[in-house]
Amino acid sequence: MTDMTPDETSCRYKCGALPDCAPLAVGLVPPQGDAAPSYAPPKALARGTLFPGLDLPLGNVVNSGTADIPTAELMAIDFAAHDLSLYLDTHPDDTEAFETYKDLLRLAKEGMERYTRLYGPVCKIQLAESQRFNWLKGPWPWEYAGKREG
């Protein structure tokens, strides 16, 4: 093996000190048992993970997000639908998943209509149903005030 030059090997990548055709990396996926304990869906949405064990600080800032804003329900249903659509990208023939996706899309559409009636448009194209151009009205998504510390 070691007397072969890189040109003579059948690998497409350099051998160097490794044996021919050594794998570049070995994936390590820790086995995950049950999904318990897990956050309730609104909390999971606000924390960015279903699993308390993965709800870790960034730098020295502890994650303390909550889902008590008007868009939370819409966020949850849109997220569920979008996530399933990613699965369908690689499994387009999974008819059961597609039926679930359609149900989620229907729920999302109803949720969007309800939200828009209460709070205004999320997309400019929704202004077709508005009395006036209320697109600019706040709060914009980053302007919900959390609890201040201290």
Partner: protein
């Protein structure tokens, strides 16, 4: 948040692909004066913008650049 529409802004029909020209055009999107950088700047400047009208303008221009 962005939604992708599977449609262009205006019709494009290519009879003779020109990869050399495409390469030049694509290279202009990057770098400090390119659209990609500009879109990120416009969109992130919204967060410190107190005026609602300007928030709207920055959103629209940033979207256009994307």
């Amino acid at each position: 948040m962005f939604i992708y529409q599977k449609k262009l802004q205006y019709p494009v029909k290519i009879a003779n692909p020109n990869p050399a020209l495409a390469k030049i055009i694509l290279s202009q999107y990057g770098g400090p004066n390119g659209e990609l950088g500009a879109s990120m700047r416009y969109l992130s400047q919204r967060y410190a913008m107190p005026d609602d009208m300007v928030k709207g303008v920055l959103t629209d221009i940033g979207t256009e650049e994307l």
